[in-house]
Amino acid sequence: MTNFHYIGKEASRPDGPDKAAGKAVYIQDLQRPGMLYGKIKFSDFPHARIKHIDTSKAERLTGVRAVITATNTPEIRLGFLRDNFALKKDKVRQYRDEIAAVAAIDPEIAEEAIELIKVEYEPLPGLFSPHEAMKEGAPLVHERDPQGNSRTDNLVPLQFHHESGDLEAGKRAAKHVVEGTFTTPMVQQCCMGTAGCIAEFDMNSNLTVWAKTQIPFLAQRDFNRALSDMGLAGKNARVIVPTLGGGFGSGLDTHCYEYIAILLAFRTGYPVKIVYTRAEEFANLSPRQSSTTKIIQGCDQNGKLTFRHVEVLQDNGAYTSWGATYPSVMMMPATSLYRISNVYFNAQLVYTNNTYCQAMRGYGNPEFTWALESNLDELAEEAGIDPFDFRMLNSNKPNETTPMGLKISTCGLKECLETVAQKLNWKKRYKKGKHRGKGLASLIHVGGGARIYRSDASGLILKLDDFGNVNVYHGGVEMGQGLHSVLTMAVAEALGVSSKRVLINPTDTGTCPWDVGTHASRGAFMACNAAILAANKLRDKIFGLAEVFYPQEVEKNLKKLKKKNPNYKPPDFDVIKAARRENFELQDGFIFIKDGPQESWLRLELARLLRAIHFRNQGQMFTTEVFYDPPNELPDFKKGFGNISATYAFGTQGAEVEVDTETGEVKILKMVAAHDVGKVLNPQALKGQMYGAIAQGIGYAFYEELLSKQGKILNPNFRDYKIPRVYEMNFPIELEFIESNDKFGPFGAKGVAEPGLVPTAPAIANAIYDAIGVRIHDLPITPDKVLAALKKLKQTKD
């Protein structure tokens, strides 16, 4: 086992002091000289033809600098399928469709101007559920596809399908079969800092966008395409990421408001800032998709799973974001959580006139695992097997390939299950009538990047200066999760310098090398792997040049020492002979010879060596660049096959609950989470990730639901959309980390950002079933649903 100096130790985050002092600069805080404020006029109907837009009054308002619509600006298309437009011309397909926008000298004038814009509509019949939208003869949300071809239905043209083994044989082999349909609601990311950007052109028509994004380089690509649409082909968009007030998937796409800010900035010649209010954020920023999952699983008489049949239906909303590829992740647990052969998986996404959806933490996995792990408990009961034993029996194992072709390298699932069972005192169950129960659920998730794009790589530059500082340039995004905390540690560890000397630069496409984006729990895995590669390159170069310069510099040390202490007798040690690249070690910012004498003059400060190499004729400096691309594959999602990640994270959560059968309220007595994280990089940061994810899982389980009626968001505020407060999180959470030391992971670590919320809701639902014998199929588990289920149970018994 390697002896680490930084990795695995508690460390506070480098951006902590600024954040605690109120000095972190969020998009809300950023100002540019001459900056104008942009505001958007959103649609008044969920589905309507735009007959006429009158902007004349808004244009005449003092302080307004520009009013734009689709008719006076170039068409800019966006979205995963390029089916969305920055400004809508002929028709609106959702309440949040952008019809016009203004730039004004202050936000109040901009808002006033928006109210002066009058739009005439011809309302069209709307579609507000995927079931409605799939009916024959349903109105079309999109009459034409982005290529201009006529469309005949509302299905989103994306296929996610998997078939493996022999489903019929699996069904025949099943002694017990359980079928269920489970639903999950739309939920919002609820970043505490709302979305926003500033767009600014220089006089060469190059663009800078300060963006609240998780994908600066894909955003650069998108914005460059927009520049091209604006007649500015060949001009460049530079994307700079300010401090993010949370991300949780909301920054995985570029958004209409960003293109609108770009159009306004170009029109006015001044920087334009658009920041959403909380109400705008709830109503106009894409949430997590709702889902309906039909699942059938079967097992043989011994409890071995024999088949799994899954059909998922998702409400895409009016346009298509990256989030439409949720099923690419759902497919992973569907084919690979627990050992299973004979799998059928199919997912369909349907256009509706609801708000369009996007990525959120877990990316399809919480939705699907809700169905899988709830249904698995039902199957265990049907087979008469304890849910824990049932899961142990079917648990994944290391070094296996799953039906989807996932190559499981390390797998700590059994340890996770055992740990949770032990901590929950699983075998000791509450007596009937106590209304107390225990439940378990597990997960698999990508832990080694996720290739959902042509490149899953991450570049990194290390630049050493004359003072021994290590400047790090990395394209990943710190959004609160702690990326810069572990990247600091990884650079310090791998290079051999003090973590105080590691300085991480702001994420900026103009200075940082390419990275596909901070999503899929890949940030730390990619950045730290890249850091190790870069550090090794630098060490190699340093040690090579040290063969000449180390002896010279330590000789000076020795002279100084002898001057101070004439009686000093140096050890019998031939420095020049020992100064071979393979003999050097760099630790904590000092270079020395491994296994050499422990004399202080032989420990040379790295900064001094760097200066000796720099300040001379034909001097050299140390900057190194790497591009780490993980060993994973871009799956064929139509066939549902491919090793999407270099390694996979596993975990189990357990809940102990008490249900008030009078009110339907569920009280959590205890949560236990055991996760196979490969290796703990920073315990403090990791615990923070897990606690936070579990809180989001609690919200998902009990109350979060973005309510929508006829396409209109009904609860666009924190009064009516409840997220967990400190009051709701008032129960013990026990965390255990299983270190499976994955060979692909940096220092053995796997990605861990999303797993913490994936199994929370089903673990709780399984505990509720254990407590009172009712099975809730639809999230969130509100008191009303619990009471209704209890009533139904009573009626069945009577």
């Binding site: 002091p17 600024d18 109120g22 969020y26 505490m192 909380r278 999760q481 940061a685 924190f718 008032n730």
Partner: protein, 159 residues
């Protein structure tokens, strides 16, 4: 209607001309340039904008600006000590991993300070009561509660 108001901000007297409809957060973040106080909802629901007025933690997004006339206002900027040093409250949040995206942090720290200024030995329930109006989406609150407990201990030891 414009109006001139004077009050004490982080120990210094300030005078600003305000529009009467503005809230405290608008003048803090606007003319006074104190952007450490964050606006998370502008409806008094998230607590990101919490500041202390005459010893009470308040939502500065709802607090009418003209009402601070003659009062003592403390914001996150007022906690920092000389020579670029964090206060006990701030340092406890850093040390305990109570910060992730950091957007809620200033408000959270101000609520904690308002509590500990009047109650040196808070129980965990009292800490939770004090933080009830402060939403955090990142941390699950566990390390925040730990940080406030730690700050309480350190403040006592300091005295």
């Amino acid at each position: 209607m414009k109006k001139e108001i004077s009050f004490t901000l982080n120990g210094s007297e300030v005078t600003v001309t305000i529009d009467e409809h503005l809230c405290l957060i608008d003048i803090l973040r606007g003319p006074l340039g104190q952007t450490g106080t964050n606006e998370g909802c502008r409806e008094g629901e998230c607590g990101a904008c919490t500041v202390i007025v005459d010893g009470q933690a308040v939502n500065s997004c709802l607090y009418p600006a003209f009402e601070v006339e003659g009062k003592n206002v403390i914001t996150i900027e007022g906690l920092q000590e000389p020579n670029n040093k964090l206060s006990v409250f701030q340092q406890a949040f850093v040390d305990h991993g109570a910060i992730q995206c950091g957007f809620c942090t200033p408000g959270m720290i101000m609520s904690a300070k308002a509590l500990l200024d009047t109650n040196q030995n808070p129980t965990e329930d009292e800490i939770r009561d004090a933080l009830l109006g402060n939403l955090c989406r990142c941390t699950g609150y566990v390390q925040i509660v730990e940080a406030v407990k730690q700050a309480a201990v350190q403040l006592k030891n300091k005295k």
